[in-house]
């Protein structure tokens, strides 16, 4: 690609993503922007729970660790960081970033974007379309609600020329589209260009899923040096066309097929990928190999954006109890099967549990269990029991029943593990754009 480009990279694609490849990009990528996307659908509800326990928390617990790895290089190289690690408390995240910068001896400006939190708009009368009941009728306990903001929300923050932009809920591709639109002056009704920029963001937002992660399937799909797979960046032109690539010397690969697979990842209709910014159309995208690990992406377009903003409402989801136990050697499957019958019998008739209990034999029928039944020649079987319940005592009872297989179950069982985790459930609702009050607060260290 000749002429001017903006270099934009992905520093995280989910809350638990690796840190070393982001540091590498910050140090060697010569990037204009480095984007950290760390918010899955339910992450925000967990953030609300944390914030309700401690008002200074509720942002991404790895924020300091991630920023500490890249901040110095980004400040030195003039790379602006954009991230949704603010989760349920962007302002506290901004403050934490400022304090980190002080400790590192860096002077930085942080722009905090707020306005996605619409918890106050949710009432007992709010309809949950997926279950066709109101919040009041559902009996669910509200934890928090956040609307997906678009690039529009980030542009004013970029006007402040910050080193770091911190947001809560923003649509993943919008985290990338905003810096591109800001740098190139794209109009927010230039649907074709916004569609092209959205394709770039969509390709980058899951980091390694475009550079050879979630891809290897030997012997058909071989990925070199996957243990050291690099994070991606794109060289984006003024029209939104781009080259997707990665740093020299990193593992993985960027090929037409890694790009194609990621282009439709979590996309339904390729002609109508809905974001807060645009109805993007990926159906005429062209993908061409320009060089080793350099894939040109052109031809994404778009139409007018949706009227309303998708909003995820989080509710208390009770507890998820999980317990595991293993059998190996001759007859392992039969003994594990006997153990599942014991657990089922005792939960129902001794403990009067009416919750749905799932009993898997890992190695035999777990992930695809409800789809088919495979042959059971395996000699190393793991029993897994899982149950959701609002009753913590009953959750503990399931664990106890599996644990007691040590002494009361079939012969030769071992390796008990059990856990109980508080869970949240989420429902999508749609809110009018004019109900959102965007706010940008600039902090300086």
């Amino acid at each position: 690609m000749a002429g001017r480009v903006v270099r934009i990279g992905a520093g995280a694609g989910f809350a638990g993503d690796r840190i070393d490849p982001a540091r590498d990009l910050a140090e060697r990528g010569n990037l204009d922007f480095l984007v950290f996307e760390c918010l899955a659908e339910r992450t925000l509800a967990y953030g609300h729970l944390q914030r309700s326990q401690d008002p200074s928390r509720g942002y991404n617990p790895l924020l300091e660790k991630r920023l500490a790895a890249v901040l110095q290089a980004c400040v030195k190289n003039g790379t602006t960081i954009v991230t949704n690690m603010g989760v349920a408390n962007p302002r506290a995240a901004g403050q934490a970033a400022i304090e980190l910068a002080r400790r590192m001896g860096l002077s930085i400006r942080v722009a905090v974007v707020e306005g996605d939190d619409v918890t106050a708009h949710i009432s007992d009368a709010t309809l949950l379309p997926e279950i066709a009941r109101t919040v009041g009728e559902s009996g669910l306990r509200l934890v928090g609600a956040n609307a997906y903001l678009g690039a529009e929300a980030i542009l004013p923050a970029l006007d402040a020329e910050p080193h770091l932009v911190i947001t809560g809920r923003v649509a993943d591709p919008s985290l990338f589209l905003a810096p591109l639109a800001h740098r190139y002056g794209w109009k927010l009704d230039d649907w074709t260009t916004l569609g092209a920029g959205t394709a770039v963001g969509h390709l980058l937002e899951c980091t390694t899923q475009v550079t050879g992660g979630y891809f290897a399937d030997p012997p058909y799909k071989i990925v070199p040096n996957l243990a050291y797979v690099g994070f991606p960046f794109a060289e984006v032109g003024p029209d939104g066309s781009a080259i997707v690539t990665k740093l020299d010397g990193t593992g993985g690969c960027v090929t037409p097929l890694t790009v194609k697979e990621q282009l439709l990842y979590e996309v339904h209709d390729p002609r109508a990928y809905l974001t807060p910014d645009v109805t993007a159309d990926f159906s005429a995208v062209r993908i061409n190999e320009e060089g080793a690990d350099r894939i040109a992406v052109n031809g994404a377009t778009g139409r007018e954006r949706p009227d309303q903003l998708k909003t995820i409402v989080g509710f208390d989801g009770g507890f998820l109890a999980e317990a595991e136990f293993s059998y190996a050697g001759p007859g392992a499957v039969e003994r594990a099967q006997l153990a599942t019958e014991i657990v089922e019998e005792r939960m129902r008739h001794v403990h009067h549990c009416s919750e749905r209990i799932r009993l898997d034999l890992i190695g035999v029928n777990s992930l695809h269990a409800t789809a088919l039944r495979r042959s059971a020649s395996t000699q190393d079987v793991r029993l897994r029991a899982a149950m959701r319940t609002a009753d913590r005592d009953m959750a503990q009872t399931l664990l106890t029943e599996v644990e007691s297989l040590w002494v009361a179950g079939p012969a030769g069982g071992g390796g008990y593990r059990g856990s109980i985790n508080a869970s949240v459930t989420t429902h999508a609702v749609y809110v009018d754009r004019d109900s959102i009050k965007l706010k940008v607060k600039v902090l300086q260290s």
Binding site: E41, R42, E130, Y214, F215, D217, Y220, K221, L257, K260, E261, Q262, L263, L264, Y265, E266, V267, H268, D269, P270, R271, F282, S283, A284, V285, R286, I287, G317, R356, I357, R358, D360, I362, S366, L367, H368, A369, T370, A371, L372, R384, A386, M387, R388, T425, T426, A428
Partner: protein, 108 residues
Amino acid sequence: MKRTVPLREIASARTGDKGNISCVSVWAYNPKHYDDIRSSLTPERIAATWPNLFRGSVERYEIPALNGLNFVIRDALEGGVNASLNLDFHGKSFSFLLLELPVEVNDL
């Protein structure tokens, strides 16, 4: 010459999820197999093969310029991350359900 092969020999696949909806994209390695895959991998076949797992409708979108098909499968995730008791509540492993389906191809 017609031959029947597992889809995995001639295509790759990737699964994504949104709520209780699974989407699986399928990509022919060689453009010459695209039409065979399209003829064989109908939404009706996907729905009929695993009715206990894929409980809702199956839609298929075609991207011929990239030799790809995209399947959108509703009510596929046992309630999704909110409700599923499956270890793999995202259905990340579903791509390999499709990849083991036999497909009839011409001129392998």
